[in-house]
């Protein structure tokens, strides 16, 4: 089941690339994009653990909700439909997003 079915956002706002299956960093996604986290990479310092502790973990569903005005920064991201987290694009680079598949497929992806 598509967890994001019935959202108010118009379908045109959905990001094609995120749905098309190409993995890309969270920092590249546009507003309204949905996807599943494929990997959380080291990044600088303790960014990895910080991201993991805020719920950015492999397999979690995300949706890009809002941007700031200047430089479209920071970004507000909904994680698993129940928590919204704000982060800067520089940190969002560390989160790799893939298409929104069902759980088993996502697990398969991350184990390869």
């Amino acid at each position: 089941m598509n967890k994001f079915g019935g959202q108010e956002s118009p379908p045109s706002a959905m990001d094609h690339k995120a749905s098309a299956g190409l993995a890309q960093p969270l920092s590249q996604l546009s507003r309204g994009s949905v996807g599943r986290i494929l990997a959380v990479q080291g990044g600088e310092g303790d960014v990895e653990r910080g991201l993991l502790e805020m719920g950015f973990v492999e397999g979690a569903c995300i949706e890009v909700l809002h941007y700031g005005l200047l430089g479209r920064d920071p970004v507000a991201v909904r994680i698993n439909q129940n928590m919204t987290v704000a982060l800067r694009r520089s940190e969002a680079k560390a989160v790799l997003i893939g298409p929104l598949l069902d759980q088993s497929a996502a697990t398969l992806l991350t184990t390869h």
Binding site: D46, V57, H66, D73, N82
Partner: protein, 633 residues
Amino acid sequence: MTAGTLAAEGFRPARIALVGPPNSGKTTLFNTLTGGRQKTANYPGVTVERKSGLLKTPIGHTVEVLDLPGSYSLRARSPDEAITRDVVLGRQTQETLPDAVVCVTDATNLGQHLRLLLELQQLGRPLILVLNMMDIAQKRGCQISVDALSQQLGIPVVTTVAMRKSGVRDLLNQIDSLLNRTSTQSEATAIDWVEPSPEAIRAYHREVERLLQSAVVSEGTPERLTRQLDRVLLHPVAGPLILLALLFLMFQAVFSWAAAPMDWIDASVVGLQQWLSTHLQESLLKSLLIDGIIAGVGGVVIFLPQILILFLFILLLEDSGYMTRAAFLMDRLMSAVGLNGRAFIPLLSSFACAIPGIMATRTIAHPLDRLVTILIAPLMTCSARLPVYVLLIAAFVPATTVWGGIGLQGLVMFGLYATGIVGALVVAGVLRLTLLRGGRQPLLMELPSYKWPNATNVLLGLWDRARIFMRRIGTIILSLMVVLWFLSTFPAPPAGATEPAIYYSFAGMIGRTLEPLLEPIGFNWQIAIALVPGLAAREVAVAALGTVYALSGDEGAVSDALTTTLAHSWTLATALSLLAWYVFAPQCLATLAAVRRETNSWRWAAFMFTYLMILAYVAAFITYRVALALGGG
């Protein structure tokens, strides 16, 4: 021996620590559990507040409840979270290991909050899991099997509705039964603990997934209102405009709403003075009482309404969840000068008072980010500057309206606030490019769901602020007023004196000594005198001016409103110069002490004092000269 019997025999009460992620409703739960029986102290060495309170369980245990700072993980990232970690691990000095930990989680966000519980469970200490905000979860159709969760975890699990007394009954019962079977023998043994690795955190995530699959009966529908509100409030264009409008409304309210209570306080002070003046014999004591203490303290108490209104707004914004949105909207602008969006919250608090603002910077993990925020916090116009602003604006700015209904006086006030803000941003940018270059902290900040502010939380917060302010009046300000009265009364003028009495006093001497230094920025000796006690606390300067002018005139001048006196005896250029001075001048010993405590060095306190002093002098000089050139003499 159990904690219960210990308590019954008059030993220390059993102690329970409330631990939970931010936005889990932990503080609301704490307030409901302990009611008004709370006290706030500081942990030694740091200014993290230690909030504790007493509660009586149904079967009569007295329990001390500790409200620990919110934290997503025991891996502390800020000084605040470090306290939580150290208390829970028994590492905190002067704090024994709690007898039990109550882990408070938001029932609507268990997927994120249960991870902290798993970390706590590793410690092997008595533990209770609270699923808070159960009413909201149920309203969204979310069903959780408490029994299944309790069985899987092997610890007591209770649901609470922290806003209602009846909503915490289960928790109280669980605390009772836990205390009945827990021994308190394990005193003061610190627990071994290592920071979880990224892999360990991922393992916790998987464990939470597994737990939820067996315990969550139905997930319910996600909340819609917050999404819809954020669409407007976080809109790239509308969002910042709304924030600006909110701040403008807040400052307008500070002035218009506070007018009536301020009049009442003023009337009572004047009434008291008149009553004493007719009923007391002419003496030095009478002068001390009326001109020194009552005039001085009264001149400061009058600002309590404004301080409370400002804090009311801040508490409402914080409790409703909007404050993090403000931080989101401000982050980019602030990161341009090397600050973190999180710095917005301490800086906004600094508008009420720099001290709680500086204390609030402990949520900023990165030391450099934090230091810059501390150093610019005093540039936010604190409420202690309001007395000076209000006095001078009332005396020199006409009460007309411009641009269709905006009060000119309010507009000037807004301008003064804006000057402080711009100054702060410039200083931050310069510091970040020179002395304090270096890395920054990631933003990573939860935007919690909006909720109606909780009345108890807001009222207790306000009460706390009022108490701190009144204590300040009772101690620092009262003693300064007595000292100032002494300085301005003795020695008595010589026979055949031609100048007012105060001219010959100690205060007059100090003022006249400083006068040449302050003459280039347009200050007369009366201002110079008022600045001396004003160095201890800004608002004292108004009371000091009152004393200086009341004592230097004849009987009639005492009852004359200070406003009128100033309007007659100062030029516009002098008034504007003093306003500019007050935007920057570091006239608050308590703030400098707080900076020393937070940065753990006098060096930074001295640095702050020096740079602010230079800014103040330069700003006042430019203002005075420009005003003179434009005919404001």
